[in-house]
């Protein structure tokens, strides 16, 4: 950097546009009495004796000498440096730029001090010149950072020009340097441990406390980082993007394309929801069936989610954006898994053998049930039963079974076609296919459910009777109802339990795919600095007499908290019965409904 004396040229230029170039002090024109910048008023309140913390971006550690631009936080006595302004510059243009950024991001920036990167030995004149700049941009305290090239020795000074309010406090503050990675801090999002109810983030100024203020400042000053060193702007800055603004062609194309695509899909989805909300589906038998089938629930849930993702409104805050991204990734994965299932089914013509195996299995189950009923109608385990009631119930169940088997045999030529169509529905997603499978199982085992209902009701009556008998035994008068038959409910319970377990497992799987925030987990895996739980510090090489240097790094959010914070709200397709209440209901004979009841709040 040549120290050219431009005194003559500078003196000839008009007062308002005096260009400041590095040179011996006498070449700088007489400083124009500019109105006092806001920096002076801001810096007047400070905590005396507190160590001054200077947050310095690591990308500027090798930049050329210049002015430090950033924000001063008086409550924590910390200066957040955002960029370095290089020579030559015009003070008025620098102030204009800061005013622009202030308007764009509502953050008050100021010139905080000077930065000196010495390339040769002892450039004393530069040092004096930099000190003289303090008169043009007055800021309390005035920071002076200096570094020798190629060495790790830094020197920092923070001077005050005003008379300190309380006598005895020094004119110079102790400075502690904290380095931070500007790009990571800009892109990261802090997750506070607990959302305090009185934490109001005011719109006027970033009032976040502590280190959140640093993150906030960097995030709001994005307008400062828009130009790089290849631009021909009036002011030359050094920051994390000064080597070239980051951009991606794919991202830009996606942004352009997303507008019309969103509009188109939003129209389609609104048509579909209007069609599904028409009066025809509200008639009683249809509405009852729709509400009980889990596939309808799943489809409705997916429709809601897709409407949210493709809505033309922009996301208001980062949480909503994350939710949209999570839903999109989840839907895409679902469809991908469904298509994989479809190709697997088609691959070796598996539907045929599957359909052919179904009818013999149903026959086998019916035969076993018939044997069971015959055994119960006789003298099961040597017990003597109420013969008349036995015969009535047994014959009723046998007839029921016979009807069911005939129905299955009637349906057998159509099963292959039905399975083919079910497989086709996997295009909508693996969850839809699983829901249909769960519904089919429920329908196929409906006869078992009927037996269970009869048996459970009778068992319940018996238990009530026994309990009233017990009360009588204890000396209280009550109505006595004696029932002695009814052991079929015990064995049927096992079958029922198996069916409920399989259905529960399927619903669990569906719920897992629905509610897992995959985009957030992927982000935590690949770009851990985006989701920050806090920060961590490392002390860098230290020498006695030199200021303390720390490196601030981002502490990523643990996986458990990622899932907890960004979990998607799931529909009612989760296991409707916790296992504890299931066993209790079985024991006491209360009915277990395979679908969700209207008033069932515990699910």
């Amino acid at each position: 950097m040549g120290l050219v004396s431009r005194g003559a040229a500078a003196a000839g230029v008009g007062a308002a546009s005096a260009v400041v170039r590095p040179g011996p002090p006498h070449a700088v024109p007489h400083p124009i009495p500019t109105p006092p910048p806001e920096g002076a008023a801001l810096g007047s309140s400070r905590v005396p004796g507190m160590v001054l913390k200077a947050f310095f971006p690591t990308c500027c550690a090798s930049a050329d000498s210049g002015l430090l631009v950033g924000r001063w936080v008086p409550e924590q006595s910390s200066a957040v440096v955002l960029a370095v302004v290089h020579f030559p510059f015009i003070p008025l243009q620098v102030k204009e730029l800061l005013a622009q950024v202030h308007q764009a991001g509502r953050v008050g920036l100021a010139v905080l001090g000077t930065w000196c990167h010495r390339r040769q030995e002892a450039e004393e004149s530069l040092g004096h010149f930099l000190e003289g700049l303090g008169t043009i941009f007055s800021h309390e305290p005035w920071l002076q950072l200096c570094r020798e090239q190629g060495s790790k020795l830094w020197s920092c000074k923070a001077t005050r020009r005003q008379v300190p309010p309380c006598p005895g406090t020094p004119y110079e503050d102790q400075v502690m340097l904290v380095f931070y990675d500007q790009r990571k801090v800009l892109l990261s999002q802090l997750h506070p441990p607990a959302a305090l109810p009185d934490c109001l983030a005011g719109d006027a100024a970033p009032s976040a406390g502590g280190l959140a203020a640093v993150f906030d400042t960097v995030a709001r000053s994005e307008a400062l980082f828009r130009s790089d060193r290849f631009d021909d702007g009036p002011v030359r800055l050094s920051h994390w993007q000064s080597d070239g603004v980051e951009a991606s062609i794919l991202a830009e194309l996606a942004k352009r394309a997303s507008g019309p695509v969103c509009v188109l899909l939003a129209c389609l989805l609104s048509l579909v929801s209007a069609a599904s909300a028409c009066r025809l589906f509200k008639l009683w038998p249809l509405s009852f069936v729709w509400s009980k089938l889990s596939v309808c629930e799943q489809l409705r849930h997916r429709l809601e989610q897709l409407t949210l993702v493709f809505s033309t409104q922009k996301a208001e805050n980062p949480t909503q954006l994350m939710r949209k991204a999570n839903v999109l990734v989840s839907v895409l994965l679902d469809v991908a898994l469904g298509l994989a299932l479809l190709s697997w089914l088609r691959g070796k013509d598996r539907i045929g053998p599957l359909a052919e195996a179904l009818v013999p299995v149903a026959d086998h189950v019916a035969e076993e049930l018939q044997h069971l009923l015959q055994w119960l109608m006789g003298a099961p385990a040597g017990l003597k039963m109420n013969r008349a009631l036995d015969q009535v119930l047994g014959r009723f169940f046998l007839y029921h079974l016979h009807l069911w088997i005939s129905y299955i045999h009637l349906m057998s030529p159509f099963i292959e076609r039905i399975l083919w169509h079910v497989g086709l529905s996997a295009c909508l997603g693996l969850t839809v296919a699983l829901s249909i499978l769960s519904d089919i199982i429920a329908l196929l085992t409906f006869h078992i459910y009927c037996f269970y209902v009869y048996g459970a009701r009778l068992y319940c009556l018996k238990i009530c009777g026994l309990s009233s008998l017990w009360r009588l035994f204890r000396g209280k008068k009550w109505n006595v109802l004696r029932q002695r038959v009814d052991s079929c409910s015990y064995d049927l319970d096992q079958l029922r339990l198996l069916v409920v377990a399989v259905q529960g497992l399927m619903h669990l799987l569906v719920d897992l795919i629905n509610s897992l925030p995959l985009y957030s987990l992927g982000l935590r895996l690949c770009r851990p600095y985006r989701l920050a739980a806090g920060v961590k510090f490392r002390v860098l090489e230290h020498e006695a007499g030199r200021p303390l240097r720390l490196l601030m790094q981002i502490n990523p959010l643990p996986y458990g908290r990622v899932v907890h914070t960004y979990r998607l709200p799931s529909c009612g397709c989760h296991p409707t019965h916790p296992w504890g209440s299931l066993c209790r209901k079985l024991f006491f004979g209360e009915l277990i409904y395979p679908w969700r009841q209207r008033g069932d709040k515990q699910a």
Binding site: S77, M176, G534, F537, V539, L548
Partner: protein, 188 residues
């Protein structure tokens, strides 16, 4: 300035305390726990393999042996990565905060940073732990609602569990820095 002393923990094991004074406002305490002993590792491995061999003679299925090897390896890796803590560090920086780092045997580090604005005090507490009464160092956090209340107690050096003499050293240094911090923040 750096120095190292050896202390003992509540069970009698050796601990090494390293103190680093970077500056009057920044201090670091590093406590190293006893390493994984070869004796206990060999004992556990032998037990698991003997049990697997016993099962193998019963069932005549060689999958049991390979499963036992697999389980031993996975168990050891899981233990080193999630359970065994090698070193615990406490870094106090005046006017920034207190940072606690635990480094596991597999190299993983987990860090917690508490800002100075949230720290009310650092104290030594007494607790009943199994059949012993032990002392532990903890950080008290301020309650934003109540000016004199405490919202949380954060214990420090939980897996190293040093004895009172070690804790007093750390406590004295912390109190020096906190006193300076309170003096500077209380003055107008």
């Amino acid at each position: 300035m750096e120095d190292e002393r050896s202390f003992s923990d509540i069970c009698g094991g050796r601990l090494a305390l390293q103190r680093r004074y970077y500056s009057p406002s920044c201090r670091e305490f590093c406590l190293s726990c006893p390493r994984l002993s070869l004796r206990s590792l060999t004992a556990v491995t032998c037990t698991v393999w003997l049990a697997a061999y016993g099962l193998f003679t019963l069932c005549e299925n060689s999958m049991i042996l390979s499963a036992a090897i697999f389980i031993t390896l996975l168990g050891l890796l899981g233990y080193l990565h999630f359970v065994k803590i090698d070193q615990e560090t406490l870094l106090i920086i005046d006017s920034l905060g207190i940072q606690m780092t635990s480094s596991y045997a597999s190299g993983k580090e987990s860090t917690t940073f508490i800002e100075m604005g949230k720290v009310k005090d650092v104290v030594i507490n007494e607790a009943i732990y199994m059949q012993k009464v032990i002392y532990y160092l903890c950080i008290l956090l301020k309650d934003p609602m109540e000016p004199h209340g405490i919202s949380q107690v954060v214990p420090v050096f939980q897996s190293a569990k040093p004895r009172l003499d070690c804790l007093i050293e750390v406590y004295r240094s912390c109190q020096e820095i906190l006193a300076h911090q309170k003096a500077t923040s209380a003055s107008p």
